[in-house]
C-alpha cells in the first residue's frame, strides 16, 4: 500500500468537477483486508473513470483503484456463467467471449467500463425493453466491508445487501469478484435497421412498433432543429444475426489528439454536424449487417473523445420521465434544449421497458430516457439544466447519478424513493463526492 501525490490525477469522464485533495490507496491483493484508514477518511473504489460527474470521485478522501484486478476466475461453457474480478473490463469480456459465441447480457455505450462499475451503477443498454438492467443478470458477487467481513451476496444470500450494492455507487463496500450470466450469440454481426424520423411523434410510433421486433434499439436525435423538425433523428435497431460475414474489420481506434479549444464547439458547428448526420442516409429506412463494435460502441473508436470539450469539461445530462402521461413532457424538454442552442452532438433517446431494476438506487424505470452533452459554459449551462430539472421532477422523473455533477439533495431524495432504505446498508468508511453532495 502506498500513497503518492505525484501520481496521475483521477478525474471523471466529464472532467468536471475537479477533485481536490484526493489520494489513491493502492491495494496489493483482493484477498487482503482493506487498507487502514486514518481518522475519518473514507474510500471509494475507482475503475476506469467513465462516470461523468462526481460519483467516481472522493475529494479530500481516497480512491481504491481496481482496474488492475482484471482476471477471469472461471467460465462454464455449458451455461455461459462467468466469474471475474471486479476490475475486469467489458472490453476484455467481449474480446475473449465473442469468438466463443457469447455476449454481454446488457451493454452500455462504451466497453471501457469495469464489471464493478457496471454493477455499482446498474447500467442499462439498447436492450432494456427486453433484458432490463445489468443487475438482473448478476448472479452473485463478493463484497468486502470495512469491518473486514467478506460477504457473498445474491438474490438469496444477503439479498438486502445485494439490492443495495447494485446501483449502490460503490458505497456499500469493495466488490472483489462478480458472477454474471452471458448470452449466446451465433455471430458477431447484427441485422440492423436504421429509420429516419422527422419529429418526436414519429419517434414514438416507430419505437412502439419496433420494440417487439428488435432486441436492441436506440435513437440519435438532432437537438439543434426547431419547429416542424423538432426532435428529428435516426432510430437504430438490430438483432444478432445468424450468419457471419467473412471479411475482417480493422480494430483501429484513434485517440482524440489534444484538448480542443473552447471556440470549436459553437452552435454553427453543432448545427452543421447534426444536419449532416441526420442526412447521412437518403432513404427513410436502411437495412444492413453491422459488426457489434460500431453498433454498440461507436464512440470507442475515438479514444479520449472527452478531450473534445477542452479543459473545462462538459456535463452529461440523462433523464428519465414516465411514459404513460403524454408526449408533451418530452416535447417540452426538447423545445427548451433547442431554444438554448447549447446542446451538442450526442443526444440519445430510448424507451425503457417495464422490467423492474434490482438495485435500491437503480436509475432505469419505465418511461423515456434522454441523454445529452452540454459543454461547460458556466452559468448559462447551469440555468438551462435547472430549467430542465423543474420539468423532469414535476413529471415524476429522475436523473442518472453516474452522469450527474449538480443535482440537488432534494431532487435526489424525491426521485430515488428507496434512498432511506439504502442508507442503512452503506458502509460507514465508504463515501464519494457525489454522496456527500446529495445527502448533505
Amino acid at each position: 500500500m502506498t500513497t503518492n501525490k505525484q501520481e496521475r490525477e483521477f478525474l471523471s469522464w466529464g472532467k468536471h468537477p475537479k477533485p481536490q485533495g484526493q489520494s489513491a490507496l493502492h491495494i496489493r491483493s483482493l484477498r487482503d483486508p482493506l487498507p487502514h484508514l486514518e481518522g475519518a477518511r473514507t474510500v471509494l473504489p475507482f475503475g476506469l473513470g467513465r462516470s461523468y460527474g462526481d460519483s467516481c470521485l472522493n475529494s479530500d478522501n481516497s480512491l481504491i483503484p481496481i482496474a488492475e484486478f482484471d482476471h477471469f476466475i472461471s467460465f462454464d461453457p455449458g451455461t455461459g456463467v462467468l466469474q471475474a474480478e471486479a476490475g475486469t473490463s467489458l472490453r476484455a469480456i467481449l474480446e475473449t467471449f465473442v469468438p466463443k459465441g457469447w455476449f454481454l447480457p446488457v451493454s452500455p455505450g462504451t466497453k471501457f467500463v469495469t464489471l464493478g462499475g457496471a454493477v455499482a451503477n446498474d447500467i442499462h443498454g439498447k436492450n432494456h425493453h427486453i433484458a432490463g438492467t445489468f443487475g438482473r443478470h448478476v448472479r452473485r458477487f463478493e463484497l468486502l466491508r470495512s469491518n473486514g467481513e467478506r460477504l457473498v451476496c445474491s438474490p438469496t444470500e444477503h439479498p438486502e445487501l445485494f439490492a443495495a450494492t447494485i446501483a449502490g455507487l460503490g458505497l456499500t463496500g469493495l466488490i472483489t469478484w462478480i458472477e454474471i450470466q452471458l448470452i449466446p450469440i451465433r455471430s458477431p454481426y447484427l441485422n440492423t435497421r436504421t429509420t429516419k424520423f422527422r419529429n418526436l411523434d414519429e419517434f414514438f410510433d416507430i419505437s412502439s412498433e419496433s420494440d417487439a421486433l428488435f432486441e436492441y434499439s436506440v435513437s440519435w436525435v438532432d437537438c439543434t432543429s426547431e419547429g416542424a423538425n423538432l426532435g428529428r433523428g435516426l432510430f437504430m435497431a438490430g438483432n444478432f444475426s445468424e450468419s457471419t460475414k467473412p471479411n475482417k474489420r480493422s480494430n483501429l481506434s484513434l485517440p482524440f489528439p489534444c484538448e480542443a479549444p473552447g471556440w470549436l464547439l459553437n452552435s454553427f458547428f453543432m448545427r452543421s454536424f447534426n444536419t449532416l448526420y441526420y442526412n447521412k442516409q437518403f432513404s427513410r429506412v436502411v437495412e444492413g449487417l453491422t459488426h457489434y463494435e460500431p453498433f454498440f460502441y461507436p464512440l470507442d473508436a475515438i479514444l479520449d473523445w472527452n478531450r473534445m470539450y477542452g479543459r473545462r469539461g462538459f456535463f452529461q445530462y440523462q433523464l428519465v420521465v414516465p411514459f404513460e402521461q403524454d408526449r408533451s413532457i418530452i416535447k417540452e424538454i426538447f423545445t427548451r434544449i433547442t431554444k438554448s442552442k447549447r446542446a451538442s452532438f450526442l443526444a440519445v433517446l430510448k424507451t425503457f421497458g417495464d422490467l423492474p431494476s434490482p438495485g435500491m438506487l437503480s436509475f432505469p424505470r419505465k418511461g423515456v430516457t434522454l441523454a445529452l452533452d452540454f459543454p461547460n459554459d458556466g452559468a448559462p449551462t447551469m440555468t438551462l439544466m435547472d430549467e430542465l430539472d423543474s420539468i423532469v421532477f414535476a413529471a415524476g422523473g429522475a436523473l442518472y447519478a453516474a452522469k450527474d455533477a449538480r443535482m440537488s439533495p432534494k431532487a435526489f431524495r424525491a426521485s430515488y424513493p428507496r434512498l432511506q432504505e439504502f442508507t442503512q446498508y452503506a458502509d460507514p468508511r465508504f463515501s464519494s463526492s457525489f454522496w456527500r453532495r446529495v445527502t448533505g
Partner: protein
C-alpha cells in the same frame, strides 16, 4: 508456438503476453514469486483458452534454484518453444548509492538471475536447434543516467549479454529477442508522475508477442522509443554529464 515458459509471469506486462498465448491455445509454465498471484493469473489464462497452465514459485535472489525450475518446465511441458524472461524490479537509486548491498541485490535480481536462466536455456535451445528466447530489458540500459544508473547497468549488461547470445545461437536457428520498453503504466511505476510517454502494458505486450512469434532481434516498445534513444545515445558525453536526467 505451443509450449511457452514465462518467468516473472505475474508482472503486468508478462501477464498480458501470457494472455496473447493463452488465447491462441498454448500450454504455459509460469514462474513468479507469489503463489496466490500465480494462481489468479493461471485461472485467468485457463478461461481465455490456454491448453494447460502450470505454475511454480521462485526467488530471483536464490540463483541455485533456477536450474531446477527450468528442468521442471521441460518435464511438465515436455518441450519448450519459447521462453520469456520478464522478472525484475525498479531499485531505489538513492539506496543503491548509499550501500553496496542494495546495489548487489538490484544486480542479482535484474542481471544475474536472468543470466542464470539464460545460461541453461542457451544450451537447451542450442541442442534443440530452434525456438525463441525473449528478455525484457529497458531503454534505461541504453545510456547511464544519474537518476537510475544501477538499474541501467543491469539492463545494459543484459542487452550486451543477449547480443552475444544472439550471435552464438543464430547459427543453430534459435532467435534471441531483446525488448526495450519505455515507460509503462504498471505497478512498478506506480510512484512516478504519469506523462504522455507512458504506454499501457497491453500495447507493449502485443508488441512483445509479435516479436516473439517472428523472432525479431531488438524491439523498442512502443516504437518511438527507438528514436528517442537514438537521440539520447548521440548526445556528446561532455554535454550529457551536465544534464539532469
Amino acid at each position: 508456438m505451443n509450449n511457452i515458459m514465462i518467468i516473472g509471469a505475474t508482472s503486468a506486462i508478462a501477464t498480458e503476453v501470457a494472455r496473447e498465448f493463452a488465447q491462441n491455445g498454448a500450454s504455459l509454465f509460469l514462474l513468479a514469486r507469489n503463489q496466490e498471484k500465480l494462481e489468479t493469473v493461471a485461472n485467468d489464462l485457463r478461461v481465455r483458452g490456454a491448453k494447460t497452465v502450470h505454475t511454480a514459485t521462485f526467488d530471483a535472489l536464490d540463483l541455485e534454484s533456477h536450474q531446477r525450475r527450468l528442468e521442471q518446465a521441460v518435464e511438465l511441458l515436455s518441450d519448450l518453444d519459447a521462453v520469456l524472461i520478464a522478472h525484475g524490479n525498479l531499485p531505489d537509486q538513492t539506496e543503491c548509492q548509499r550501500t553496496y548491498q542494495e546495489t548487489e541485490r538490484a544486480l542479482q535480481t535484474n542481471l544475474l538471475s536472468p543470466i542464470a536462466f539464460l545460461t541453461w536455456l542457451a544450451n537447451y535451445f542450442e541442442r534443440r536447434g530452434r525456438g525463441n528466447i525473449t528478455v525484457i530489458g529497458s531503454v534505461a540500459g541504453d545510456r547511464g543516467r544519474q537518476s537510475n544508473y544501477v538499474y541501467g547497468t543491469a539492463k545494459g549488461g543484459l542487452a550486451t549479454f543477449l547480443q552475444g547470445l544472439r550471435n552464438r545461437l543464430s547459427f543453430c536457428g534459435v532467435t534471441v529477442t531483446t525488448i526495450k520498453p519505455g515507460f509503462v503504466d504498471t505497478p512498478m511505476t506506480q510512484h512516478l508522475a504519469k506523462g504522455p510517454l507512458f504506454a499501457e502494458p497491453r500495447i507493449v505486450a502485443k508488441r512483445i508477442y509479435k516479436a516473439m512469434t517472428r523472432g525479431q532481434d531488438v524491439v523498442y516498445a512502443p516504437w518511438f522509443w527507438r528514436f528517442i534513444m537514438l537521440i539520447i545515445q548521440h548526445i556528446p558525453e561532455s554535454i550529457f554529464r551536465k544534464l539532469r536526467l
